[in-house]
Subunit: 336 residues, 4 copies
């Protein structure tokens, strides 16, 4: 699970741009934005395309596509809405895949995260539902060979339980498998409780497990692996210190608005607290919480169920965007 | 999972009394306290016995025994320490059981909690490891009959997923099974992160799933069920609002100590915040966090593993305190 | 998990009648049969209605409806087919429910089986996905009150791990909850490997956990509980001795057909083996296999996934057949 | 999970030699055998050492050590016996490790198998309990540096769910990590039900996932990886066709012994059946069972619990044989 500041900002950026939608962002060169609403299922799809260095500079993000699928139904047992999300995700994934070129080659799915930690198990769970075919491509009968593409998948685990940097494992595998495309799935740490299990994020600019710790060796992208990397991320937790930090901000701002006259002098305190650099306050809170908190996270009671649904939606979308009208049944006939 | 204010206070009371240990609590009638340290495994066992109405009044808790086993090793993969904890827990449980009388009758183990929510699955996991014998007592050969006691176990689920109050399910079962003793296990919500997975609490005064919401119908104890109830509880989570509340207290107290001169006026604010009734501040925080937070909890990444160890320790202790020198192997021979 | 000879025979009876479909079973009074094929998803639905004592005698089964939904897609990751099965199951369930009368009362869902044994966890997994409402009916706002019915659910465990007969737990609960209808779900032991995970069976004549051992006290039906009981069963395993028995039959019959001339005398042996009463051969095989085999079962590698899909299909169908156009989201708003 | 004919024969060989123990196997050059009995816990440890080419020829197995730990207590909830098995396994592992030389280098643990299939999850579950240290060796304080060795671990999944041959993933990783020693853990398919969950096998001659299908590229051993490979295997299932095959043999041999006079002529049939080459009969049975059976296995109801115990025993032994008096607590302090 990564504290994904980049992805997080992608979402905020999208919302920012959405707000600007009425007024228009006409002035920004090299940035295109598109918002689609599916009212029947309360799904909003926001696509941001950064197409030039000017756009890159304006957005402080690399050239590429950033797609956000938002819906409160992601965490509900709403089969019809999940179907609709699968349909949207398949379309978007197919478009990104086509964009990335080399359509005949092998696709490698990397499920990041720890399958023993419920909210971090998203990536490994997706891997377990992928219809892999790379190992049977040579033995396919003609009627299947038309629709099937070579697909393989690995859940490399997390450094804390393997002792090996995830990027190292992936790089070794890439050398060997020589994929034309990588799709990497990861559970993310959100900044706000209200985002947990509400958003699926796609981008063709890769992913950085452990991003924000300034370690660029760990990034999985075209620069580090020599292969285009599509990233799919879903925020499933908030880390405990971030949670306190943000709640305290809200609390203080509310208190300061409703302050009785007699205490107005104290308002300076709030200003001071609010002026503390984000990083500083976060650090004080971490210190206050002590060493245990690094290991703590905030998550909803239903997390097990929601991760099961999410992995089903994402794996089905990858299967359908890759293979052509073929199900597990067809594949199984040639597997055993 | 219950927000167990009572149990929580039992722990605090024990610590309070521990502090007083050197000076003595000689003045308090009807309260006995005993602290044992097992230095080899960093285990501290504190027993508080309330023996009279005077003690009851002084402690604001019912007459009975309250035993706390504390060790940082509970959440470590330390087999030797876990063995030692099983030994202690078996002893304490056997003593409480003997105290409760009716030694020939059936023991009913109730595993409270939701087996689909990792940190709340402790009770159901203990149930799944109990060596139940009630259904085979009539067919036992003489060589086993000496050592085996009638034991049965149920995980009744939680009201949120059954639609039935837990106490209702248990009462129905008690009418039917007519046990001589009930042992109820529950995962608790701790007040502080530092207590998560560090403490096992026993008491012979019963348990209240959902305690603190003022609903006495839900208590499982001798008064409501007509049978002595031994409770075993382990704090495995902190609820999200409590977590913010307590962290903010710490943060503010630290800030107020290290405040620059120029802001001293603002200190009144901190005093005001600190003067807010606990319940009031908690309510403001809950409101700040919004409706989602009621469903959120804070827990460590290793919770799955730790709950597995805990359930193993507790189930083994119940098996050994109940049966006499007999393992699953012996029982299995007569089960199928 | 039960060795459900009754349910098994229901399926065979249905197939038998299906075979007779062209020729008609016109002569049998009090038996109606209906076969629907959904070719798009390879789903066959067979409904047998026994409507009189004559039919009861002819079929050797109690008056009532027996519905079998068969499809190879049940065990495939085929979302569209699962949707279609949910639609069919909801319809059939709604019809049976309406038939059972008392439409205003509480429905109690009983999930039989052991949630720790993957192929036996179907019932408990369904329970965990039921949208229970019984505990919040008094606090519902008018806009929900129209669509919601009181629904509750319990997974009572299995006698081997609770020490209490399942029927005892259910009877106690029924006394307390006073439901108008019970829906009981159980994983069944199939007779043939080819039936595993291919069939969902419904009936309004109840269910007998542990049927076939001649213990009628254990049945869950209108006679024993005073409430109509709809049973939903899915074969998920074959018990090991049955598996050998049936495979050996096939093997011997194939050998005897392809026997070389020189060994024709030995054919008597095969006849003898084939003449052995089913029960006798089964008993010899059990004895051959020894005491361990009682605990052994045969199941496919994908059982975990398939049980997840099945529980999702069944729970969604119960939710939709009971409540009216209302999802978990609506309910959650009033639960916490 | 592999159908491990080699390992299986190792066990049979050990038993064969055990039988010969009183008479001695003095005549066989290059083979040493040692049997230790731990009567308190019903544990038998058999060590076979093949020390020369003559021994290799006599035993039809490569030079190396083959250790078998047998106990019925492996599958019982017997904490004391499990402790004793950990002690024995740690000793044996430490001896094999020392033998393999290069004591200062990195140890790489490979957990073979599919973590989503309960009886095949042994390897991945061991990996999740390994105290990995390779990634923190550079930041260790002096007091830990003495006792800790660099340890890392990966569960590479199975070809059926990754689309990549396991040996390919491991080879890529070995190139990168450059370990001095590999320890590979796998769940095995036993030949007989009576061996399931009763035996832990160690050897320093490596392991072949999918052995017996004649594919030597898949072996993990010193020849294929350039690094010594210690294999730890536990039989946890019997595949369905083998199960029928072996049960039928037993059944037929019993029938032929108890045959009535009038049918004695038929005895030829039994002789014929018994004369069928093992492979032929197995093939006929597989064909009889049809395509579904390739995917079916026989396993006991308690398999989930037993795999949890086994993974705990094996992981603890690897941790203790590798590190020196250091627990997870010490390591955690430097991990986050």
């Amino acid at each position: 699970m990564q504290k994904n500041i980049y992805t997080d900002l992608a979402l905020e950026m999208a919302q920012h741009l959405q707000d600007a939608k009425d007024g228009g962002i006409g002035g920004v060169d090299g940035v295109e934005i598109d918002v689609e609403d599916d009212e029947a299922f309360s799904i909003t799809v926001t696509t941001v395309r950064i197409t030039s260095e000017a756009g890159e500079a304006a957005m402080n993000k690399p050239i590429g596509s950033y797609i956000t699928i938002e819906s409160p139904e992601i965490q509900q047992n709403n089969v019809a809405a999940h179907e609709e999300i699968i349909r949207i995700l398949t379309d978007k994934l197919a478009a990104l895949t086509k964009n990335a070129g080399k359509s005949g080659g092998t696709t490698l799915v990397i499920g990041l995260g720890n399958h023993n930690v419920t909210p971090d198990a998203l990536g490994p769970k997706v891997v377990s539902k992928i219809l892999v075919t790379r190992h049977i491509m040579d033995n396919l009968p003609r009627e299947l060979a038309g629709g099937l593409r070579p697909l393989c998948a690995l859940a490399p685990g997390v450094m804390g339980t393997t002792g090996i940097e995830t990027a190292e494992v992936v790089r070794g595998l890439v050398n060997h498998v020589q994929p034309a495309l990588i799709i990497a799935i990861d559970a993310l740490a959100a900044r706000k409780i209200s985002r947990i299990n509400q958003t699926i994020q796609l981008s063709d600019t890769g992913i950085s497990p452990g991003a924000g710790v300034g370690n660029m060796r760990t990034a999985l992208n075209r620069q580090t692996l020599g292969v285009p990397v599509i990233a799919i991320g879903v925020p499933t937790v908030v880390d405990a210190a971030t949670f306190v930090n943000d709640t305290m901000d809200l609390f203080l701002s509310e208190m300061s608005e409703n302050m009785p006259e007699s205490l107005k002098d104290g308002a300076d305190i709030f200003k001071m607290l609010q002026k503390l650099e984000d990083g500083d306050k976060y650090t004080i809170i971490r210190n206050t919480l002590g060493p245990l908190v690094g290991n703590m996270f905030v998550t909803p009671k239903e997390i097990g169920e929601v991760v099961a649904w999410l992995s089903n939606m994402i794996a089905n979308s990858i299967n359908m965007a890759t293979h052509d009208g073929i199900g597990r049944d067809d594949i199984n006939r040639y597997m055993y």
